[in-house]
Symmetry: C2
């Protein structure tokens, strides 16, 4: 897997609804906030995301709060975004949208 060039990131990000590209310490990440009615709904979603992450052996940062989960995908070893991050972001949205 390789790090995507900026232009490829922009192109792919335009097609990925709901996600923002945010740079943290110079590394680009795909970030989306998902909302829920309560804490239980938020935690249950975080576990679902954890399950697909573990299976794919590609792990996001998942911030669980009351009624809200913020998921961030990036490829730490590459210092940016890869195809895999876009794929996992799309799968995360599908988990939410059902």
């Amino acid at each position: 897997m390789e790090k995507l060039a900026d232009i490829a990131v922009e192109e792919k990000a335009r097609k990925l609804s709901g996600w923002e590209v945010i740079a943290v310490d110079g590394e680009k990440r795909l970030v989306r906030v998902f909302t829920f009615d309560d804490f239980v709904g938020a935690m249950a979603f975080s576990v679902k995301v954890g399950m697909i992450a573990e299976k794919a052996d590609h792990h996001p940062a998942v911030l669980t709060e009351w009624g809200k989960v913020t998921v961030s995908w990036w490829s730490h070893s590459l210092g940016g975004l890869s195809e895999k991050d876009f794929e996992m972001a799309g799968r995360t949205s599908s988990l939410y949208e059902g």
Copy 2:
């Protein structure tokens, strides 16, 4: 429940091993990073913290990453820290230390 005065926060924080008091948007939070061998260990701990939170009806922010969970307790409605946050922080440490 009421918001603790700064001096009470300092006093209590000194006795609470491993936790730092960090101000976010002017609100004090108790924050601790817990480490694990892998993603599964981190996610399992996050769920445990979620369980005691739900039972206590007091909910933290839980950031789950590969090998690491960052737990933050504060009383959003009070704009700072209460006795409950210190109690829950202590219980979180006990969950970790077993």
